[in-house]
Amino acid sequence: MADRVQAPFGTRRARVIAHDRHGAYSVLRCIDPLGPRPQAGQFYMLRSAQRWGGGDGERPYLPRAFSVLRAPAGGAELQFLIEDVGPGTARLCELRAGDELSLLGPLGIGFTPPRERRRALLVGGGVGIAPLAIWQDQLDGSATVLLGFRDAAHAPGAELLPGARVATDDGCAGHHGLVTELLDSELDHGRHAEVYACGPPPMLEAVRALCAARDVPAQLALESGMACGFGACFGCVVPTTDGYVRVCVDGPVIEASRLQTALTSGAGH
């Protein structure tokens, strides 16, 4: 049996049904009638079906990778959380209900349930909260969720994960400081936990180091610049204890114990 939900072979189209704003973030909701329901932590390669190109620097050209934010059960809807950081995300953020996406996925290996009845601790930073939302759903909302954001423009992202505790760099909301400080005190209350983290490399590295020091298992959803998303280009590698591995087919979720560092270079952002 496969270690992942496999994708239909070839790109397909999905119609955008809504584009919601949460502060600096956009949530694109689309209907993917032909695709399977994804696992938490899996991702899709997306591009607009029309006018993918002609942006800043005469880009984008290649599709872009996005974690699935939510995939409401029993339907065909997929949700993606998008932060405009360049020509590809800028184009996707222009899409409105009725526009079409060209999509490939679900791709990669997602999160696996906590071992030995450990409690799930979800730790997200910035747009990295995306894969934690669907994981929170699949864990029936039982998990503890800790989220970190830059500022007031980004803090609204917290709306997407009910019951989340928030830290902000500028103190505009929740704890004034880093989300890893929240994680630190959480682990003080008990180490019988399994950590699921996604966010900017420095945050992931802090989570990795912290969990390693306390001997807490952690699954990290990594990012890396990608061209294909299905193992074809060997471009998305990160160094692990067993050499370079492709984030797109051997990840994006990787056991923290397999990494010397989570400070990947050339990441998507």
């Binding site: 992942r4 496999q6 880009r59 290649l62 061209a227 193992g231 471009g235 270079s265």
Partner: protein, 291 residues
């Protein structure tokens, strides 16, 4: 149709290093095999020793294209024979193995090893990878290519395809040398040498410092080289470079190519090869964004 005596369902194959059928099988399951997009499968370059490849970042998007410095990661000859070849032999299409050596002896060792394997329909000699110093040398110089073939041609009856580098003053001259020295076919273009700087630091972005440019950005350059090479030699030509649709493929065939390889476009759609083969067969038009 036949190419160097190999029966092929259509003229579209993959460009070496742009499709990993084993990884794709994990991502797409059996659907990959039932709708396999290529008439033959070309493996990523195999070297004698295993290689980790270049440090990341390995990718940079250019206008209408991609620049890569992958650095030929592979399991090495014995790793390939042990782990990859059995799986690749089960693909529904003939297998072409792309090899590269850092010396003639290395290439000879690779060619002899694969000469003995029935699973292998043909060999492609990568003398042109712009990401590895020595890759340049052999492919840019007619004499080097002639000497290389002098050594490896006697080692196998399997078709030998010499993959040319576009980063040369006179590519047809190199093609002529390959033909004269017994090559069964040539393939071109490999990627064009390029560079990008990190927007934040101004330092080279790619771990390999320089990289190879591919995709539509190089299509007109590829067509010119394919055209001049086809005019110079008689052996069949496998053409590639920025092919996104049937029109692009037909233009390369019009310039004289027997087969057309799809590379970067597969990254935008893994089934692009099947679409392009259909568009070639029906001589239908192109739109930039299939599906």
């Amino acid at each position: 149709m036949t190419f160097c005596g190999i029966e092929l369902a259509h003229p579209i194959i993959n460009a070496s290093g742009t499709f990993d059928a084993i990884a794709a099988r994990r991502a797409f399951g059996d659907a990959l095999l039932t709708g396999f997009p290529f008439a033959a499968f070309v493996s990523k370059t195999v070297t004698l020793e295993p290689r980790e490849g270049n440090p990341p970042p390995r990718l940079w998007e250019v206008p209408a294209g991609l620049m890569n410095s992958i650095g030929l990661p592979n399991k090495g000859l014995y790793g390939y024979l042990a782990h990859d070849l059995p799986d690749l032999a089960r693909l529904p299409v003939p297998l072409i193995v792309n090899v590269m050596g850092f010396s003639r002896d290395e290439v000879a060792a690779l060619v002899s090893a694969f000469a003995a394997r029935d699973e292998v329909a043909a060999l492609e000699l990568n003398v042109s990878c712009p990401n590895v110093e020595t890759g340049m040398v052999m492919g840019a110089d007619p004499a080097e290519v002639a000497q290389l073939l002098g050594v490896v041609r006697p080692l196998t009856d399997k078709p030998l395809i010499v993959k040319l580098t576009p980063n040369a003053s006179d590519v047809p001259l190199v093609a002529l040398a390959a033909e004269a020295a017994g090559a069964d076919a040539v393939s071109l273009v490999n990627t064009l040498r390029g560079m990008a700087l990190d927007p934040r630091t101004g330092e080279p972005w790619l771990g390999g410092i320089t990289g190879g440019v591919s995709g539509p950005a190089v299509r007109a350059i590829a067509l010119a080289q394919v055209h001049s090479v086809c005019a110079a030699i008689r052996i069949p030509v496998v053409a590639m470079g920025g092919v996104t649709c049937g029109r692009d493929a037909r233009e390369l065939m019009r310039a004289g190519a027997t087969l057309v390889a799809v590379g970067t476009e597969s990254f935008r759609d893994p089934s692009a090869g099947a679409r392009i083969a259909a568009e070639v067969a029906t001589a239908t038009g192109c739109v930039s964004y299939p599906v």
